[in-house]
Symmetry: C2
Subunit: 130 residues, 2 copies
């Protein structure tokens, strides 16, 4: 299904918001191109385009923290999607937190408001390119 306007971005990338399907917590945002969108639909697992590695990225391919996509929503302009997922391993963030949004702005500072679920070195070793 190609109901998305990939042409709206010069690189053909659109933002995908990932939300926990039960709690509604926003876990992360990543980018999709047409191929990652089609693979997500076909497999039921979140696929993105890695802007740092310039390749298709099955979320969880290194960590095992796969996202099972339960529902997909499309916005009014057809240039953003929401994946509602079951996050395997309990953590979406490569820094070990449940959500990538583990910091809150408070009094002009950033305050960490969550605890790590895992130690990144245990999962990724010393590979910084995750």
């Amino acid at each position: 299904m190609n109901h998305l306007n990939f042409d709206k971005s010069e690189q053909g990338l659109l933002p995908a918001i990932v939300q926990d399907h039960e709690s509604g917590e926003v876990l992360m945002l990543a980018y999709i191109n047409l191929e990652s969108w089609q693979r997500t639909i076909k497999t039921g697992k979140s696929h993105f385009w890695s802007r740092s590695r310039n390749k298709i990225w099955l979320k969880g391919e290194s960590s095992g923290h796969i996202q099972l996509v339960k529902e997909i929503y499309i916005d009014c302009d057809q240039d953003t999607v929401v994946f509602k997922v079951k996050q395997l391993g309990g953590a979406a963030c490569h820094k070990g937190y449940r959500s990538c949004f583990f910091r809150m702005v408070e009094d002009d500072k950033m305050k960490i408001i969550d605890e790590k679920v895992f130690n990144p070195e245990d999962v990724y070793g010393n590979d910084k390119n995750v």
Copy 2:
């Protein structure tokens, strides 16, 4: 506070996810530049950069559907934010729906899963540039 990496995007724009502060529903996604970010912090009302109009955009300036920002979260890469807001007027979408994500993917089709809160023509007149 400039804890965001605006340089990560060529246009200096980063995505801001807007979430209802009580229900957790994702209402919309829009883009911020440094100025809209600073105005949001200063005023407590969502400000974005309008990519179609090329100008700073106080969300609700036409419709009255202002967003009062209750909490702000920053992601691990400091290139995406979440605004948790109280949405005045009960609707974030210029098409009249509570959320811009009023369509769900089902059997390879897009299915509308919500009802309009307002009639866009009543709010915006015939101005299509909203």
